[in-house]
């Protein structure tokens, strides 16, 4: 197992390097100069140029030099990689804070959102999926699957707004703008989780239905085992393999969803940090955010692979 882990972790490095390189290239291909962006500053469609014309060439060059933007592209990227390997992701152009510090300040909020959202998705998805599978071809099944299709088709942007409208306005239960603590977490997590729940419910249902038709399940029924034991011990466990894989993949969707959900609910987090950085051409922060987000996606999927033997002891993670 250790060899397996080492190998998997080592393959992460080139993948992350490739992803950051792609982002790096994209950023630098933009027809825009971050130093100029800093100087110009658009406010409500109206530029604030008071500064720009007077910033002398010398000052402009000095700023570029200090930000490291005067060096050739490949050198800049090399420096980024080198520094990243020592745990230094540079400093934000806009806030001048260290990117590592900004990520550390924003990550807990996103992790909280993603974990709660994923938790809701898994719980809701599994319960609904199992119910639908057991009550196959009944009204309940149709209702659950109808809900799942609806859940899948709703953009999270719209869903968030509707939840605000319904739960905050109509029922007056929760605040609109994300508050501190769990009260502020429910709506965003629900918005984020419903989509995943829909995917998982459909998958659990079909996977479970297939398993329930297997001979060993029939044997279990024949032995007179109670339904609870048959479904949860024998059938569901085997039905979970594809479900767990999708949970890992869903995590990616969850992260991208977090970007939207965070801005709808005004939550701090990596998503809103990345958006703001992209808008202000804050290259180091964009790079740092991409690095962290892609890394976490890869790690979650590694984690998913590691859970396979737990679910099905026949699976061995070989070196």
């Amino acid at each position: 197992l250790r060899r397996y882990l080492t190998r998997r972790l080592l393959t992460l490095i080139p993948v992350v390097a490739l992803v950051t390189f792609a982002v790096f290239l994209m950023l630098h291909m933009l027809p825009v100069d971050p130093v100029r962006m800093m100087i110009e500053n658009e406010a409500g469609g109206s530029l604030q140029p008071v500064v720009s014309e007077q910033v002398s060439r010398q000052q402009y060059d000095e700023m570029k030099r200090q930000l490291g933007l005067d060096k050739p592209l490949l050198v800049q990227y090399g420096l980024f990689l080198y520094k990243a390997s020592t745990g230094d992701l540079g400093r934000s152009f806009a806030t001048r804070r260290s990117v590592v510090e900004m990520i550390a300040a924003n990550a807990p909020s996103t992790v909280q959102l993603a974990v709660t959202g994923l938790g809701m998705a898994v719980v809701l998805g599994l319960v609904l999926g199992v119910v639908a599978a057991l009550k196959r071809n009944t009204v309940i099944d149709a209702a659950v699957m109808g809900m799942a299709v609806t859940g899948l088709s709703l953009p999270s942007f719209w869903l968030g707004m509707m939840l605000i409208l319904l739960i905050s306005f109509q029922l007056g239960l929760l605040p609109v703008v994300s508050a501190a603590g769990w009260r502020g977490l429910i709506l965003p997590a629900l918005t984020l989780g419903l989509r995943g729940a829909a995917v998982l419910a459909r998958l659990t249902r079909s996977s479970l239905i297939e398993i329930l038709q297997q001979e060993y399940v029939r044997t279990a029924w024949a032995k007179g085992l109670p339904t609870r034991l048959v479904v949860f011990k024998h059938a569901l466990r085997n039905a979970l393999i594809p479900v767990v894989t999708v949970v890992g993949l869903q995590f990616g969707a969850l992260l991208s969803g977090a970007v939207i959900v965070e801005s709808v609910f005004g939550r701090p987090g990596l998503g809103s940090m990345a958006i703001q950085a992209i808008l202000s051409k804050d290259f180091p922060v964009v790079q740092g955010a991409v690095l962290v987000l892609s890394l976490s996606y890869l790690l979650v999927n590694l984690l998913v692979d590691l859970t396979y033997p737990l679910i099905d002891p026949r699976i061995r993670l070989g070196g």
Partner: protein, 566 residues
């Protein structure tokens, strides 16, 4: 219950629909043009503020929900208009400017300007302390400025020190600054927070962390950032050096100001509706009719100063190289309708190259190019253009009058461009609207690949015209001369405007410049930008200074506003 839900939905949905689709503009015309504006109203609000002082109640928390999250809060370093508004409440300028070109004492109780406008001497109050207890003196001013001019600081506000000769501490409470050339604009700089004095001890002590929680002398101190999207200011109980023009100089009424940064417009509107916000920055303009008619709300608007939002005609390309085409374009556009429909009545039509809030505004500009589609057609016919029988578009030598407008793809810009497109079609001009993100417009302008460009420049000084019409700004400098006009005469006038120091003389010269721009129809000045904020009616004493920053010195809360939780 149901009916309440429906009203809320009805109020809330338009914003969402607009965001989702940005479809056809509603035909309903919004009532009334915005009221509160500039000098007149600045005075008015100051008077109102004075009147309100007698009945004011102290205490409470003001919750401002805004979409403009500051990168940091150091007024000397950034150039953000919106962050400067926060700074106006955490820092004090050396002098206040309650009305354009009228200054009163601030941190400096007296000041002198040399006759040639090169030397400025400020005599500081002796009783001022920074939020950390450090006393304010000339040495603190010097150290603040030292930090700004040090290239290592990368302070964007270093531009206020262009052509600096030197500055020096004359005595413990007097600082003098000398420029190599006349610098009539320096008093403006001294009257906003861009070069505001900051605590030298705090800068030393906080190091890297300083810019997130700067230490000034203002009525509110920066308490901190409870999370990445929330900023808290608290009252400075020792404050007693506020501007006399506000009616009182003592500490603020409210105990606390909490900013929450929410990018989503409809969420901000919802927060206002749900009483989670006292004031919402950049509220949904589409809800203007409701906000204006609902007694629970007040619209807090401010008309900026500078060049209105305008489209510049590229004079180097067909067909906008022809004065007749440019003038026909001007006559074909109903600016009032654009302001009423595309902006729901939250902006005012442009009158000329400067907003009427700029002190150098030339009043005769109003007489140019009234909406007159017949005249537009006439002008084109007289200039030898003929209408194509099938397309109904005018053409000359087989080339249609087709104008590509490169503009930003924001909802506001697109709505107004599409309205103009329809108006122009009626007079036989084909306007092609190419909306894109700002970044993408830059190379189009640089490569001269457009007939019309968009720009809006804010500025307190009429010199902002130099950026937009001086020939040096076509390829060099700011590249804001999207008209691409190279006129020796205009250049000479614009250069002269920078060096004159007498306001009367300057105003006259800028009048001529505005006339020249209008006579030649270098651009169509469409609408004057207004900040559009909405507050609960129970927020009292809100005031704007002429630079467009709000001042919370006298804000107080009544009734329901005292219960809004942070």
């Amino acid at each position: 219950m149901r009916s309440r839900f429906l009203t809320i939905t009805a109020r809330f949905l338009p914003a969402m629909l607009l965001l989702a689709a940005c479809g056809s503009a509603p035909t309903q015309t919004a009532p009334s043009t915005p009221q509160a504006t500039t000098s007149e109203t600045a005075k008015q609000t100051a008077d109102q503020a004075k009147a309100a002082v007698s009945q004011a109640q102290a205490g409470g928390t003001l919750v401002i929900v805004s979409d403009q999250k500051p990168s940091h809060l150091d007024p000397n370093l950034h150039s953000s208009r919106f962050t400067a508004m926060i700074n106006m409440n955490t820092h004090d300028p050396l002098i206040w400017q309650p009305e354009p070109n009228k200054f009163v004492s601030g941190l400096a109780e007296k000041w002198e300007v040399s006759a040639d406008q090169t030397t400025f001497t400020f005599h500081l109050r002796k009783d001022v302390k920074f939020h950390d207890g450090t006393p304010l003196n000339a040495e603190a001013v010097k150290q603040t400025w030292d930090r700004i001019v040090d290239p290592k600081t990368r302070a964007l506000q270093v531009t206020n020190f262009a052509n600096l000769d030197k500055y020096e501490v004359v005595d413990p409470y007097t600082i003098q600054i000398k420029f190599k050339v006349p610098n009539p604009r320096f008093l403006n700089a001294a009257s906003v927070t861009t070069i505001a004095v900051q605590s030298p001890t705090a800068i030393q002590k906080l190091g890297d962390k300083y810019i997130m929680t700067p230490v000034g002398t203002g009525p509110f101190k920066v308490e901190g950032w409870p999370n990445e999207n929330t900023l808290v200011l608290v009252k400075n109980p020792d404050y007693k050096w506020g501007p006399e023009t506000l009616g009182r100089t003592g500490p603020a009424y409210i105990d606390k100001v909490v900013y929450k940064f929410v990018t989503e417009e409809s969420t901000r509107s919802a927060a206002l509706e749900k009483q989670e916000a006292s004031v919402v920055e950049n509220a949904a303009r589409s809800l203007n009719p409701q906000y204006r008619s609902d007694p629970r709300y007040q619209v807090l608007t401010f008309k900026t100063s500078g060049i209105p939002q305008y489209w510049s005609f590229n004079v180097t390309r067909y067909p906008t190289n022809d004065l007749a085409v440019r003038q026909a374009f001007e006559y074909a556009i109903d600016k009032q309708k654009i302001a009423d429909v595309a902006f729901f009545g939250t902006v005012t039509p442009g009158k000329g190259p400067l907003t009427d809030t700029n002190w150098a505004f030339w009043p005769d500009a109003k007489n140019y190019y009234p909406y007159d589609p017949k005249k537009a057609v006439q002008l084109l016919e007289q200039a030898g253009y003929t209408r194509n029988a099938t397309t109904q578009i005018f053409e000359k030598d087989g080339k249609p009058v087709r104008i590509r407008l490169v503009t930003s793809s924001t909802n506001d810009q697109m709505r107004s461009a599409e309205m103009a497109q329809q108006m122009l079609k009626d007079v036989g001009i084909d306007l092609v609207v190419e909306g894109m993100v700002y970044d993408a417009t830059v190379p189009r302008y640089a490569n001269n690949d457009y007939e019309m460009g968009r720009l809006g420049l804010s500025g307190f000084d009429p010199d902002v015209l130099w950026l937009a019409f001086h020939s040096s700004q076509i390829k060099g400098g700011s590249q804001f001369n999207r008209t691409r006009i190279e006129s020796k005469e205009l250049d000479a006038m614009l250069d002269k405007g920078r060096s004159l120091s007498d306001p009367t003389e300057r105003k006259q010269l800028y009048g001529q410049i505005q006339k020249q721009i209008l006579d030649n129809a270098y651009g169509i000045f469409l609408w004057e930008d207004h900040y559009y904020w909405v507050g609960q009616s129970c927020v009292k004493g809100w005031a704007w200074d002429p630079s467009g920053s709000y001042m919370m010195h006298n804000v107080w809360l009544e009734g329901a506003c005292r219960n809004i939780k942070e």
